[in-house]
């Protein structure tokens, strides 16, 4: 094992992202403090119709992004506890609890102030907790709420039926009427097309960026570094700023790839990581992999809000239908658990990974329920070394550092051993043949 020195993971892109996100939160704060009368809709990350929201000049607010940032800053626990005092259970998704706690604290976060929703737009894409979450926000805040129901994938080939598409398109058309009422303007179709076109451009660049990690070494970590790009992908999708950001990202990462640069001094293991990260301990967690030279070449978490790497693009010619398709079919959350196995298997094969790491989080049963079976599948059916570890994405009480480190060390120790054995077997075989 190579003990890595203090690694600087963050570069130029990170700075650019910080600036964009700072501007975004400044806009939210301006609304919350009455300095702007821009309308806002709260919505959820998994497959959402943010293009419609943007086309009305409204600004999207993502509670998931708000609370994960609190966790990164190690400020989630008091908010979670505040919600628990109200009767929320220890076993409820901590994202929801942190958001409830944040609301009860006047929506004041260190990165900005969150405005109360003009519309609670619950895009029910896979996660059932989304429904509870926005129902609770509606009760707490009294804001108007709507559920956009996205039929979960039920067919073996993952295709929604024409009836499913029709159903979602109709709901989006009803949503347009609601947004018209909120903003007092009617839908500007050319503006919607431009927004959707921006999403298509970003989708294209994001897919190209994801392709870069097929190289050796991967120019960035597809789990830990993807997070930087995901913030912009989700919060600013549809805007010109997002396009500019992704142009810069593509350029920088392609340059690194061309120069053979990776995020670590040496790439020893290529892994696929499944599951959301433990936000309160992101850096510590990353170091546990870095010290083994392990780099994520692909991750399922980076597809929660959309899967672009297998070909989907928004279509400005059919904006509403393509938004519906994105919600129905092209994001991780609305696909079946077995389709996730297939997605990961594809990553292992096409991105040439040595192993799978499953990070099981207690809060998020959408992600985690059944991951023991997933491990079983990868170990037994596909013979891929697979590590299953547990903690949480928001609640620091479930992160057991020593235990995680032991498990990760033992796993990579065994992988190294296996590699040595395979190498000496190969040498022996070569010697024998000579």
């Amino acid at each position: 094992m190579t003990e890595t020195k203090e690694i600087r993971y963050q570069g130029h892109l990170h700075e650019l992202q910080k600036q964009l996100m700072g501007d975004y939160y400044a806009q939210l704060t301006a609304i919350a403090t009455g300095r702007s009368d821009t309308k806002n809709a709260h919505l959820l990350i998994a497959g959402n119709p943010v293009e419609l929201v943007r086309a009305f000049g409204m600004i999207p607010v993502f509670p998931e992004v708000n609370v994960l940032q609190l966790a990164v800053r190690k400020q989630s626990l008091p908010l979670i506890q505040k919600a628990e005092e109200l009767g929320y259970a220890v076993d409820n998704c901590a994202y929801v609890k942190a958001d409830v706690g944040l609301y009860l604290s006047g929506y004041q976060a260190p990165y900005g102030t969150i405005p109360k929703a003009d519309l609670l737009l619950c895009n029910y894409v896979g996660c059932n907790v989304y429904l509870n979450w926005f129902e609770h926000l509606a009760e707490l805040t009294g804001a108007p709420a709507v559920n956009i129901d996205i039929p979960f994938v039920r067919s073996a080939d993952g295709e929604p039926s024409p009836g499913d598409v029709d159903y979602v398109v109709k709901q989006l058309e009803e949503l347009i009427v609601q947004l018209e009422n909120i903003t007092g303007t009617s839908l500007d179709m050319p503006r919607l097309r431009r927004t959707v076109e921006n999403s298509a451009l970003v989708g294209e660049m994001w897919a190209e960026i994801k392709d870069l990690t097929k190289r050796r070494p991967a120019p960035y970590d597809a789990y830990f570094d993807s997070v930087t790009m995901m913030a912009v992908l989700y919060c600013l999708r549809g805007t010109d700023e997002a396009v500019t950001f992704f142009e810069a990202a593509r350029e920088e990462l392609s340059r690194r790839a061309a120069k053979g640069e990776g995020p670590l001094p040496e790439e020893r293991f290529r892994v696929v990581i499944e599951g959301p990260p433990p936000w309160p301990f992101l850096r510590v967690f990353r170091d546990m992999f870095s010290r083994w030279g392990a780099v994520a070449v692909a991750s399922t978490y980076s597809t929660v809000g959309g899967i672009w790497e297998f070909g989907f693009r928004h279509d400005p010619q059919r904006p509403i239908e393509s938004i519906a398709r994105h919600m129905l079919q092209y994001n991780l959350c609305n696909r079946t658990f077995l389709q996730r196995y297939d997605q990961m298997a594809r990553y292992v094969d096409e991105w040439s990974a040595d192993a799978v790491v499953i990070h099981s989080v207690k809060s998020c049963r959408l992600f985690s329920a059944g991951q023991g079976d997933m491990r079983e599948y990868f170990v037994r059916e596909r013979e891929v070394p697979t590590l299953l570890i547990e903690s949480d994405l928001e609640d620091p009480r479930y992160f057991s550092q020593a235990q995680l480190r032991n498990r990760i060390d033992a796993f990579f120790e065994a992988l190294s051993q296996r590699r040595l054995t395979a190498a000496s077997d190969a040498q022996l075989a070569a010697g024998g043949a000579r």
Binding site: D91, H136, V146, G163, L338
Partner: protein, 388 residues
């Protein structure tokens, strides 16, 4: 049994053991008698009529209760997942699902949805139908969607059974379950108005039996049982009148229900097995039956923790039920790790406190077999109620 002195209800005596028996004796008997197939229906709500119309018996598949040791499923689903998900999978691993030809799961929560996938992967020979129940209850487009979804599910089940579901098949299936649900409403009404005549343990046994038998068989049994209970001359006891919520999916052991009653409560309303008695009134049997079934779900069903109807907040519905039943208190009896139930509790608690209705929070697991702790908690709660 609290009503030991009252005339026994024959069906309760006969089936008390078998409703918890994971060898599924009633199901095996039906299969042997009819030679037909069976669909296992995971809670909370399954459109059972579709299976029945395909010539199959829809059977409630409520996990393994406290009847089976976990040996395989624990390694597939983590410690923080509710029992019923794991034990239902365990039943398959130990071949207890042999009497089931197909399984139906619905979009009730994230673990149940992933269970449908895990089940399908590990047991590919048993067909799995997954039904997406809508959560936009106000869009005019929803009814068409849901009718289409039911048609799709019926086609799948029809392919398994070899009997294509026609309009008349579905109409008569709806008729059969209308009859059963009317009886269940009736027995619930009887308990609400005269809880001294029928205990919840008795009522539960009968309602559970209804999930394990052909409605053609269970409906007359329940009708007979209602007649027996009505004729009892029991006198009301000095007990705390409660409405119970939180047990809509995973089911508490029957002994636990008995323990709560024996600790001094009359349970006047509950959400046990709620999916099997979801509708407030009969479903129309004229017109397009798929549409009728869909409309019943959208507009004719009672509130349910896994149905997010923004028109009717569930906490308000709970308060209304407590008021309508003149309840002294509410007991929340939630399955451990059940996310939808636990989320609802936070809203219930707020509403109950606002309305100054006392409540008790209890958690259970289907696999539990010691009830002393809960019994003591209920007794303490009852005493505090009686003395205030």
């Amino acid at each position: 049994m609290t009503l030991a002195t009252a005339a026994p209800i024959e069906a309760v005596e006969r089936y008390r053991e078998s409703v918890e028996d994971r060898a599924f004796p009633t199901v095996r008997e039906w299969r042997a008698r009819t030679g037909r197939m069976v669909t296992g229906c995971f809670p909370v709500y399954a459109p059972v009529e579709l299976a029945y119309a395909a010539g199959m018996l829809p059977v409630g598949l409520f996990g393994a209760g406290n009847q089976i040791e976990m040996a395989h499923a624990d390694s597939r689903f983590q410690s923080f997942i509710c029992s019923i998900v794991k034990s239902t999978l365990e039943l398959a691993f130990v071949d207890r699902l042999a009497p089931f030809d197909a399984l139906m799961f619905e979009s009730i929560c994230d673990p149940a949805r992933n269970l449908a996938s895990v089940m399908a992967r590990n047991f590919p020979d048993r067909h799995v139908t997954y039904v997406h129940l809508p959560q936009n209850m106000t869009s005019p487009a929803t009814v068409d969607y849901l009718a289409g979804e039911y048609r799709r599910a019926a086609d799948e089940l029809g392919t398994v059974s070899g009997h294509v579901v026609g309009t008349e098949d579905l109409r008569s299936a709806i008729g059969a379950f209308n009859g059963l649900r009317a009886r269940l409403r009736e027995i619930y009404q009887l308990r609400a108005s005269s809880p001294e005549k029928i205990s919840t343990a008795e009522l539960y046994t009968l309602a559970r039996l209804a999930t394990l038998t052909d409605p053609a068989d269970s409906e007359p049994l329940i009708a007979e049982s209602i007649a027996t209970a009505r004729a009892r001359e029991s006198r009301p006891k000095d007990r705390v009148r409660v409405v119970l919520v939180g047990s809509f999916c995973e089911q508490p052991p029957l002994e636990l229900i008995t323990a709560i009653e024996e600790s001094g409560c009359y349970i006047l309303d509950d959400d046990f097995l709620l999916g099997w008695r979801l509708f407030k009134r009969d479903i129309a049997v004229d017109g397009d039956p798929f549409r009728a079934l869909a409309l019943a779900y959208l507009d004719g069903s009672v509130h349910l923790s896994t149905k997010h109807d923004l028109r009717q907040p569930r906490a308000a519905a709970l308060i209304a039920s407590a008021r309508a039943h003149r309840a002294d208190a509410v007991i929340f009896l939630g399955a451990k790790f059940c996310e939808p139930g636990l989320f609802d509790y936070a809203l219930y608690r707020k509403a109950l406190e606002q309305e100054a209705i006392p409540h008790l929070f209890l958690e259970f697991e289907e696999k539990m077999w010691m009830y002393d702790k809960i019994r003591t908690e209920v007794e303490t709660f009852v005493e505090s109620m009686l003395f205030t």
